[in-house]
């Protein structure tokens, strides 16, 4: 399902002395099946964009097209359930949204809101609990007895159980330990491939953006600063620094290497593997001479 933002403006508390402009003429398209990363400074409007993707917010100006629905400024939207089912959002610290007596009931809450039968929802719960890396006997526990990391997984399972076509992640790994982080990000990457989802990741981690995203949008003060492939955007190191952003560690290492050795590598490397390959070719060239 394609999502398209056209000239979207959004003002918080429009028409009061507290009015604040959060988005300014934001336009971009997320074609079906893309893994898109949105990066930018705190307060650059990332989270505001994210809430437009399933019509939790309605633009002050411009329009958002989600599949065959168009959400525009002037129309009051009714019956958004279909949009919400197809676009699942995992908010920051999603563990705060748990409320049921058992993990199973909590996971079933989403699907059942969208009219899935109880039996089917329970079936899905069994499936997704394993997907997020927890065992099935967790289902009978109370979500409030779990550890922070487990609660996070349960909350994510609750969103996955809705079987969305687009999944939106707002810093899904904030506050997790390094291993939990990798596991979580790998899980989303697998899901993305297996189910042919569109994935939209809002993150501060340049590493995650470099590792997983096909496309990247850089936000700056409520505007789209640039959109492109991670490789291309991360090669503009100086520009990113000026926005107060950084580049992945690998890119920083490569830059340092190029500066000190005077040898240019063939391309901007985004992963350690790529970098190792490039360095090997350089090394071999040296041997041959």
């Amino acid at each position: 399902m394609d999502i398209q933002l056209q000239e979207v403006d959004y003002h918080y508390a429009a028409g009061t002395p507290f009015e604040r402009k959060a988005l300014h003429h934001v336009s971009f398209t997320i074609p079906s099946g893309t893994y898109l990363a949105i990066i930018g400074h705190t307060g650059s409007g990332k989270s505001t964009i994210l809430q437009h993707l399933n019509a939790l917010l309605q633009p002050t100006n411009g329009q958002v097209r989600i599949g065959d629905r168009t959400i525009s400024a002037d129309k009051k939207e009714k019956n958004l359930k279909d949009v919400r089912r197809r676009v699942g959002i995992v908010f920051q610290f999603p563990e705060h949204q748990l409320f049921e007596e058992t993990v199973e009931k909590d996971i079933c809450y989403g699907p059942m809101n969208f009219g899935v039968s109880e039996a089917e929802a329970k079936q899905r719960a069994k499936q997704v609990i394993r997907q997020v890396g927890l065992s099935e006997d967790m289902l009978k526990k109370s979500p409030f007895d779990l550890s922070g990391g487990q609660m996070r997984r349960v909350a994510i399972a609750g969103v996955l159980a809705m079987e969305p076509e687009v999944i939106v992640l707002d810093e899904p790994t904030a506050g997790l330990d390094p291993r939990g982080r990798t596991e979580m990000m790998e899980m989303f990457a697998t899901l993305h491939k297996e189910r042919n989802l569109s994935t939209i990741l809002v993150t501060h981690s340049m590493e995650d953006a470099a590792l997983y995203a096909d496309e990247m949008v850089i936000m700056h003060q409520g505007k789209v600063y640039q959109k492109g492939k991670p490789r291309e955007l991360f090669s503009k190191r100086e520009e990113l620094f000026q926005l107060g952003l950084s580049v992945p560690e690998v890119v920083r290492f490569q830059h340092r290497f190029e500066e000190e050795s005077g040898i240019k590598l063939g391309k901007t490397c985004l992963t350690t593997n790529e970098l190792v390959e490039q360095l090997q070719t350089v090394y071999k060239r040296g041997e041959d001479q």
Binding site: Y12, T16, P17, N54, F91, F99, G110, V159, M162
Partner: protein, 264 residues
């Protein structure tokens, strides 16, 4: 929720903003009593002028203040209508079937609505021009005499300042959880009342849970920083009573006399 004016603070610089919070609290307290002195057109006129002057001095946009009245407007209209139909004094103005409208009812209705408006304007002005922290400081200082009567003034003030501090935080959290549940298909704004109340559960439980957690964290953090009750604490923010504050209260006393003289 964004449009609500009640209880919010607008940081600006004006004569009213700079007044001591104790003076403003006393002022509102006395003003609320004084409003009940008014009972004819002249006295209500004087009060209205006085209130408008206060709003003007606070530099707060009148239109904004009126827009914030919307939630209370229904209450005002309701009492107005009740008075029109139920007060049967003075001359009969209009009669259709069992509906009778009397002159007295119209007058009473107008006066009571006016009283509501004046009270709401002045109390909103207090919260709009005084930061929550200085309101609590003011209250603590005003309540001090009651310490002798075993009233735990410090604890009350502490609870109040903590609650005030967390109102916006909790509001933000409510909104966040609401949105998260809406993204999972919750519907808070349509359907029959029974369904709507049931739909609140996924919002209320997480809110309570996080409030408990927050209270625990805050208590630990306070203890770790050496808090052990009100005994022997010094104050960081000191209230300063100036000539202006005395003047404001004198003006209020003057107003009370004028009203007393003019009322019928």
């Amino acid at each position: 929720m964004e449009k609500m004016v009640f209880g919010r603070y607008l940081p600006m610089d004006s004569l009213v903003h700079r007044l001591d919070s104790r003076a403003k609290l006393l002022f509102v307290f006395v003003y609320v009593a004084i409003v009940f002195l008014a009972n004819n057109v002249v006295t209500y006129g004087v009060l209205a002028l006085f209130t408008l002057l206060a709003i003007f001095l606070s530099k707060i946009n009148l239109r904004f203040l009126i827009a914030g009245l919307k939630p209370v407007l229904w209450l005002i209209i309701f009492t107005f209508v009740l008075h029109i139909f139920l007060t049967k004094q003075g001359d009969l103005l209009w009669k259709a079937g069992w509906i009778e409208i009397y002159e007295g009812g119209l007058k009473q209705g107008a006066f009571i609505s006016m009283r509501f408006l004046l009270l709401i304007f002045m109390t909103s002005l207090l919260t709009l021009t005084t930061s929550p922290i200085s309101i609590t400081d003011g209250l603590e200082s005003l309540l001090k005499p009651f310490k002798k009567m075993k009233l735990p003034v410090h604890e009350l003030a502490l609870m109040m300042s903590i609650s005030l501090r967390f109102i916006p935080t909790l509001m933000d959290e409510t909104e966040k959880i609401m949105k998260a549940q809406m993204a999972r298909g919750a519907d808070f704004s349509s359907g029959p009342i029974k369904e709507r109340i049931k739909a609140m559960i996924p919002l209320l439980i997480p809110l309570f849970v996080s409030a408990f957690k927050r209270a625990e964290d805050l208590a630990t953090a306070m203890e770790a920083r050496g808090y052990s009750g009100g005994e022997g604490r010094t104050k960081y923010r000191l209230l300063k009573w100036t000539a202006k504050d005395t003047a404001v209260l004198l003006v209020l006393v003057l107003l009370a006399f004028v009203l007393f003289y003019l009322r019928s």
